[in-house]
């Protein structure tokens, strides 16, 4: 469902490097057996649509009615606009924040009775993503204060009982981009997979 975003990136433009990595997360995670959950993005789109609609309504009221006729409607619209704007700001700043991917594990095994058996098999399955993972959240940031910018990944894994496991890692962009400026998707996928496996341990 998700597509790979192939694009030539300027290797010195840290933001572009990060955006390209972020854009490819859905593709990689769908390869790893996750289904993207758009709840946060949909809330964001819903709130901004509401804001744009209120702006448009105010414009219409302003065009159709005279200043004194439209005054009360305008006051109401302004109050509602700034209330939603506040909610939107808080949502983007504290909830959405750095979350770039949320996904559900399609291979999740909800049958908790099997847990013990599975744990015995775990050693053999070491290289695969744990079936007990239910939900994954990936946050990414960029650290530009260093000599070379690094890509910081925070992976949060939720199991069926909503217990969280968290793992921070960072990588240099040179390890996933080639000299021509193309993202090496296999390398990147391997790093993400290893990070998820490390997190789940």
């Amino acid at each position: 469902m998700s597509q790979q975003v192939i694009k030539k990136i300027n290797l010195y433009s840290a933001n572009d490097l990060k955006n390209n990595c972020d854009d490819n997360l859905p593709f990689i995670l769908s390869n790893l057996g996750f289904k993207q959950d758009f709840k946060l993005k949909d809330i964001e789109i819903g709130l901004s649509t509401a804001l744009a609609l209120i702006g448009g309504t105010t414009y219409l009221v302003d065009k159709k009615l005279s200043f004194s006729e439209s005054y009360n409607y305008t006051v109401i619209l302004i109050v509602v606009y700034f209330l939603i704007q506040t909610v939107f700001f808080v949502f983007m700043k504290f909830y959405q924040a750095d979350i770039k991917y949320t996904g559900i594990n399609l291979n999740n095994n909800k049958d908790t009775k099997d847990k013990k058996n599975k744990k015995n098999q775990k050693d053999q399955k070491d290289q695969n993503i744990d079936e007990e993972i239910n939900k994954i959240i990936i946050k990414t940031t960029i650290n530009k204060k260093q000599v070379v910018p690094t890509y910081n990944l925070t992976i949060e894994l939720f199991d069926n009982d909503s217990n969280v496991k968290k793992f921070d890692s960072n990588l240099k962009f040179s390890s996933v981009f080639n000299e021509l400026g193309f993202l090496q998707i296999e390398e990147f996928q391997k790093i993400i997979k290893d990070s998820i496996i490390k997190t789940s341990k």
Partner: protein, 171 residues
């Protein structure tokens, strides 16, 4: 496919948000000052040396009466462009809260009777006045004059804004 669409929708919405926030801030200012147009640009030299072409004026329209000697912005019915002139005479009725004003440009030799509508001898404070000048910024409004007098420049500027907000992705 779906996620790419969401990304594009949210970038388009970002442009809509820039436009609607700017408009809502303008309307908020308009409601706070009770003025249809709380910021105006001086277009003529009729108030020199107090104001020159290109000055930006900040208005307030909350007070019930305007004083003689205040500089007001008024708009005559059915005419597009508001005028900034000083109040020469004022007649007020405190019971009915009514006030009539006669205005004159500092740089004009005569009062504004010729600028008003036919048979109109005074301005009605409630209906004609957009606000009283409370502050100004010299020369900054030249950009607005330039934009309004050059249609191509206006559309180029709008187009560039739209394109940059859609294409640009900052962190």
């Amino acid at each position: 496919m779906l996620s790419v669409n969401r990304q594009q929708i949210s970038q388009l919405l970002q442009f809509a948000l820039i436009v609607s926030s700017a408009f809502m801030i303008w309307k908020t200012l308009s409601v706070i000052t009770n003025s249809e147009s709380p910021i105006v640009v001086v277009l003529s030299g009729s108030m020199e040396p107090a104001f020159q072409r290109g000055d930006i004026l900040f208005l307030n329209n909350r007070q019930t009466f305007v004083d003689a000697g205040d500089i007001v912005v008024y708009q005559i019915k059915h005419r597009e462009i508001p005028i900034v002139h000083r109040v020469m005479n004022q007649h007020s009725n405190l019971q009915k809260l009514k006030q009539f004003l006669l205005t004159k440009g500092d740089n004009n030799p005569v009062n504004d009777l010729s600028l008003y509508n036919r048979n109109q001898l005074y301005l009605n404070r409630e209906k004609d006045i957009l606000g009283v000048v409370k502050g100004y910024l010299p020369k900054v409004g030249y950009l607005t004059i330039f934009i309004t007098e050059n249609a191509y420049f206006k559309y180029t500027l709008l187009g560039l804004m739209a394109i940059s907000s859609i294409l640009q992705r900052d962190e």
